[in-house]
């Protein structure tokens, strides 16, 4: 299974901080300064293993291929402009609303959903055997739907706010 952790373990980080791969990759991308590139070039001439490693990295980099990006749909720009115009003036009031106001609104929304989910769990007065199935269904629904909705609400508010704050830098 592919490892999708966003950070490496300290051991990995230590191992990754050294070695020649990082320099070779920068060399491959033309990102080394002139002196460093010359020095690495000299090493490549006398170290066959290093030269082989460079060829392998180059092979991997070249092998990364994706299909050509589809051309923009016809009328895309006009449609976007129309949607923007519907939404109001550029940099309108919503954009200038202080971040804390929008964050507070998001917090209220998520808390409300959480409270609603809690009430739903408590409101199961029918304890008869026949009712067991429906109660289980309610709990299942809460885990799969309500919690998913809460997560969505979180990312559509807090996540966007954080990203927006970054973008305006």
């Amino acid at each position: 299974m592919t490892d999708t952790r966003d950070t490496d373990t300290p051991a990995e980080a230590r191992r990754d901080s050294g070695g020649d791969d990082r320099a070779l990759l920068a060399y491959l991308h033309g990102e080394l300064d002139e002196a460093a590139a010359r020095a690495l070039g000299r090493r490549l001439g006398r170290e066959p293993a290093l030269a082989e490693r460079l060829r392998t990295l180059e092979g991997t980099w070249t092998a990364l291929e994706l299909p050509p990006v589809a051309p923009p749909p016809l009328g895309f720009a006009a449609r976007v402009a129309a949607r923007a115009a519907e939404g109001g003036a550029a940099g309108g009031a919503a954009a200038f609303r202080p971040a804390w106001v929008r964050l507070a609104g998001a917090a209220v929304l998520v808390t409300g959903i959480a409270a609603g989910a809690g009430l739903g769990l408590l409101a199961a007065p029918d304890r008869s055997p026949d009712a067991a199935t429906s109660t289980v269904t309610t709990v299942d629904d809460l885990t799969s739907t309500t919690v998913s909705t809460m997560a969505e609400a979180y990312w559509s508010t807090f996540g966007e706010e954080l990203a927006d704050a970054e973008e305006v830098r």
Partner: protein
């Protein structure tokens, strides 16, 4: 005064957009739609999602036009908004996938393809079919390998490999140091090497070859 360079023209269009000039905004979208769609498609791996994302990106540009600071290039700013939007989309997918129990789609999006499976246009059954099939195989392997990267590494790989940005430009877009760009790219490459190595067809006899 007419704009002297593409960057000047972008800035001029953005200023006019901020002043409510709809035609200027449309021209700005026309000029950059290919770039934004491209980065969204390569980040998200899905053409439909990319179109939706690109639309949202430009709407954000419209809303924030007045807050742009000219110390950065407009293209850098656009890339930043697009990449951040895509990273958000990827986080949402991850959260939705985590919470949607029993969802048959591993991507957490009904009716969408599995990550790593690239939806492609039908192949023309003409001469060169082998070449087309081989290209499809390489594209699918690359897509799967990129989808397996942590999002921060994915963004760096996409910007370097497919957008052709330098380390400095990527650092500007992502708001990180050039050293961090190099580190993420290097760690990403290790994962990509492993993934592509696993995806490569088994060698046939001694003449078999790896993905190259």
């Amino acid at each position: 005064m007419p704009a002297d360079s593409p960057a000047d023209l972008d800035l001029e269009l953005l200023r006019k957009t901020a002043a409510g000039d709809a035609a200027a905004f449309e021209e700005l979208v026309e000029r950059h739609q290919g770039r934004v769609l491209g980065v969204c498609e390569r980040m998200l791996g899905d053409r439909e999602d990319a179109r939706d994302a690109a639309q949202e990106v430009f709407l954000k540009v419209y809303r924030k036009a007045g807050r742009f600071r000219p110390r950065a290039r407009v293209t850098t700013w656009l890339y930043r908004i697009a990449v951040n939007h895509c990273l958000n989309q990827l986080r949402r997918r991850k959260v939705a996938r985590f919470f949607s129990l029993g969802d048959p789609s591993p991507d957490g999006v009904e009716g969408r393809e599995t990550p790593g499976v690239v939806r492609l246009d039908p192949v023309d059954p003409a001469p060169g079919l082998d070449v087309a099939l081989e290209a499809r195989r390489r594209w699918a392997a690359t897509r799967a390998a990129i989808d397996g990267l942590p999002s921060s590494q994915r963004a760096v790989v996409v910007l370097a490999k497919f957008e052709g940005l330098s380390y400095d430009e990527i650092a500007d877009v992502l708001g990180i140091t050039t050293g961090s760009v190099a580190s993420r790219l290097f760690r990403g490459m290790r994962r990509l090497e492993k993934a592509l190595g696993e995806a490569a067809p088994a060698p046939q006899g001694s003449g078999g070859s790896r993905v190259s």
